[in-house]
Symmetry: C2
Subunit: 321 residues, 2 copies
DNA sequence: ATAAATGGTGAAACGCGTTTCAGCGCAACT
DNA sequence: AGTTGCGCTGAAACGCGTTTCACCATTTAT
């Protein structure tokens, strides 16, 4: 493989001039430019991208930190991200963390080592303090609400979204409402918990701890959730569920157990996954793809803006009565 | 940020020795090793990964070429790939092609420029000849059956899988069978077409072109498919569908139109997505995650093996009668 | 006519880690 | 005592593109 010096020699110019031609810098005489282009053609030359990166200290790669890939929420975000990344000429490096500290740290280190120019964090487990150290190495976009200086934040107001679901249920006459989330801690869970507690207060209800389920991410978790639910003495009449996948699991298991939905139990999910439509799940629809796309845009913008809120909407189907 | 020469100076050794310590080469005296480690600690030194890549001509990055991310088939493969990649210390670069030639070429160029060590192709559109040129730059793993020398191939026998579905339907008494695929051309479609034609021959049926549907990938495509189907004079009694998502779309639209499944129309899907379980879709279950994992393994193996076939199994639920 | 600005060009330094190779010291072997 | 051989070490070359800076040749401005 030929390198830039070979081209310079072949075109009888300096490497500087070759570099200028390659990068469309001005101040190159027509003849020289053409000589260079010809040499490039003839020697089938391609710049060594690693050398370019080393030299420039920039890689045109953006890292994406997500706990899972094969999960509708993240896959939808990813799709939006990937689309925008391509249109802006960036490549994506996806780091699946499974919510493990080391993996998250690894990604941060990659940012530090300039293996990526910036990092988009779809969900995290490390503290903001830990993240802060790395801010000087590249832009960090967080897909959660963060007021902390230095981070770009774009988020769905999980508090309001949950509130919206909650109020909808109340309006339908429900008072015994439970909910499920993914991680016990974390942005979304915290917001939902807060909205839950405050929601209950508005209808003068106390928190029933046994109606709060955590660690529900996938379809299978929904099935388990329903099994656990049935062990309780008193059942809620409605459940606000982590996402539509989990909701689907709950519904499936309900069918098996002859629990009628929505007659015996109302279910409301999040995301508006295809499965929600398929099963007629009432859900809070989130514009994930669009959010991903925006998140990417902000990863390469020069300045940080104040947190960006993206909207959501309730989609009534037939799992709430 | 300090570099390897700073460390050498601080530890009063040569850069060579520092490099040896960093890479755990033998032949470094204990004291020197410790001096280096201490200097590294003190200066908070981290190797510049781009320099390492440039120097080594290796990146520990594997490229993944897939048409879509947010698609259950690819997402499942991706999951297996990502898991194995991490356990082997590799990073993933995902290139979403949307089946566009340029994008595929771009990925190939990245392989050439050593931006990735190898490439895993989940689905392609470019010809093998075009791919062949790039074989010398790194391993290329193809997730389809390829006998062509130089490529590592790992695949699901789409012919047999389709045949399995077909025979199952025949056994249930169906004679009027249609099917759908994704792209008009492409590995999977070709295999399915072949199996379809040969299957029809075994039951002395002629091909009904109007019962063959292409460009069906997602749920929405399934809905459209059913609408189109209903325009026909004579309907098939059974459909072998691209994947479970499309099958779900068909089923949903059927409900709207009062077509009873399986009474009026039998449906068999592929993949065994969560949605298949959710909707009770009879399907050919494919071990995609495992296949992804294996594909990754072979991307960094020294030698190429003959094509690897992965198994599948029919999962009977309630969309076939 | 003279000073100043502009275009064009290349040598050399830079970014940074890896690898080759030559050389030194000391222990083991004849 | 003389020769191998092995462990350890560092100078220098290497991978390769970018950028700075100095310098010459024209133009343009005064």
């Amino acid at each position: 493989m030929s390198n830039i010096r070979d081209i310079a020699q072949a075109a009888k110019v300096s490497v500087t001039t070759v570099s200028r031609v390659l990068n469309n810098h001005p101040h190159v005489a027509k003849e020289k430019r053409e000589a260079v282009l010809q040499a490039i053609q003839q020697l089938n030359y391609r710049p060594n991208i690693n050398a370019v990166h080393l030299s420039r200290g920039k890689t045109m790669v953006v890292g994406i930190l997500c706990p899972f890939i094969n999960h509708s929420y993240y896959a939808a975000l990813l799709e939006g991200i990937a689309e925008k990344a391509h249109s802006l000429g960036y490549k994506l490096m996806i780091i699946q963390t499974y919510y493990q500290r080391e993996r998250e740290l690894e990604a941060l280190e990659m940012l530090k080592h300039k293996q990526m120019d910036s990092l988009i964090v779809l969900s995290r487990i490390l503290s903001l303090n830990q993240y802060e150290e790395y801010l000087s190495y590249g832009r960090i976009v967080m897909c959660e609400k963060i007021e902390h200086k230095g981070f770009q934040s774009i988020y769905i107001d999980q508090y309001s979204a949950f509130q919206c679901a909650f109020e909808f249920l109340v309006q339908k006459g429900h008072e015994n409402i439970g909910y499920s989330t993914g991680r016990e801690m974390g942005y979304s869970s915290n917001q939902r918990e807060k909205a839950y507690i405050e929601g209950l207060a508005t209808i003068n209800q106390n928190i029933k701890k046994e109606w709060v389920f955590t660690n529900s991410f996938f379809l299978e978790d929904g099935k388990k959730l329903l099994k656990n639910l049935l062990e309780l003495n008193k059942l809620p009449t409605a459940l606000i569920v982590t996402n539509d996948m989990v909701a689907a699991g709950i519904i499936l298991e309900s069918k098996k157990r002859r629990i009628e939905i929505p007659n015996n139990l109302s279910i409301i999910g999040f995301n508006n996954d295809p499965i929600a439509e398929a099963m007629g799940i009432t859900t809070i629809s989130l514009p994930l793809k669009d959010m991903g796309s925006q998140a990417f845009e902000y990863s390469s913008k020069k300045d940080i803006t104040s947190p960006i809120k993206v909207s959501f909407s309730l989609l009534e189907r037939n799992t709430v009565q």
